[in-house]
């Protein structure tokens, strides 16, 4: 089993974040010592993806997994995207805040990637309102983020209702911008995940679900 926080931002590329990668890793150590389940996190910086950067060395130093994705902005709210490559990055203007969710998902499927609507229960930047207005191509969605560390309980409950209604799989992510938020919400995978290929394979094929522990 693997417990991964699928949604985090850092000072490396998100201008509204106040946490460094090493800060997150130190805090992961603290959380694990306190008994929380966390094996790593995925950096999903806003509207950007650095093909060259790798965090393997520092991640190994602390004994956690640090993977890369991105949080992009589409016509149905924000989307977490995983399994990005050069072809994808060259094809899309990641800074565009009105990307077509249909084109985005199709392009990700083409390269073997995966998309998850983020903080799905939140107004405007989540997909809830767009679902109500029939603007979402439901059959293209496999999983949504129902546990988001930046959403309130009502918004996360709304996301869970959408997941139940459309039989979506569910993921959890802290949406951490600051050190102490990392791991607040995670996704529990039944399989072992060691890299981005494993993550996408698991998101497409495995059983997994959003997971949140009570405060210890």
């Amino acid at each position: 089993m693997t417990y991964l926080d699928l949604h985090a931002h850092s000072t490396d590329a998100s201008d509204d974040a106040g946490a460094t990668i090493e800060g997150y890793l130190k805090w992961c150590v603290v959380r694990r010592q306190k008994g929380y389940k966390i094996d790593g996190f995925v950096l999903t910086e806003h509207r950007s993806f650095d093909l060259k950067i790798t965090y393997d060395s520092i991640a190994d130093k602390y004994g956690f997994l640090v993977l890369k994705g991105a949080e992009l902005e589409t016509d149905i709210g924000h989307m977490l995207v995983y399994g990005l490559n050069k072809k994808f990055v060259n094809h899309f203007d990641l800074s565009d805040v009105h990307l077509s969710h249909v084109k985005l998902i199709d392009a990700l499927n083409d390269i073997g990637g995966f998309a998850v609507p983020a903080h799905a229960g939140r107004p405007s930047i989540g997909m809830a309102a767009y679902v109500d207005d029939n603007l979402v191509e439901i059959e293209k969605i496999v999983a949504i983020e129902v546990l988001n560390g930046g959403s309130n309980n009502e918004e996360n409950a709304r996301a869970q209702l959408i997941a139940n209604k459309y039989n979506f799989k569910t993921v959890g992510g802290s949406d951490a911008h600051f050190v102490s938020s990392i791991g607040k919400c995670v996704t529990l995978f039944k399989s072992e995940i060691k890299n981005e290929e494993d993550l996408v394979r698991a998101l497409k094929n495995d059983n997994y679900s959003a997971y949140e522990e009570q405060s210890k």
């Binding site: 309130n152 309980n153 009502e154 600051f178 102490s180 938020s181």
Partner: protein, 147 residues
Amino acid sequence: MNKQLFFSDIELGQEFSDTYIASSEKVQQFLDANRTLERTEIEDGRFTSKEGASTLGLEKPILPGVMSMSIMSKLITDIIAPNGKLHKLDASFRRPVFHDDFLNLSALVVDAIIEDGKGIIKLDIALENNRGEKPLQGTAVVELPTK
């Protein structure tokens, strides 16, 4: 006056907290004491009236951002007083703080290191309302005396 905290008193994960009720009366007092906010207030009334707030799509009047920041600042300076130093305070305003919100203030130690012989503490700071939202989140870097 607070008992002085020293660097050696601090542990990773240690949390300092307080509470604050953002009453309309306190907001008015803050506005009265901060005349630089007068211009914005005259223009739309977002900080004092339900009507002014509603024209901006807000359900209730809100606190000025600098007031939220000052509430947070007080928690930090209370922690480090009297001989600590505040090196940096950085905040991100993520949601509005409404009048009468009950706020939990927190400062969580996320790193503690000795730099150039100085005891440096890094804190994650937050205001959390009773809806489970964190309208203000940020970081603070403080220096505490070493023994």
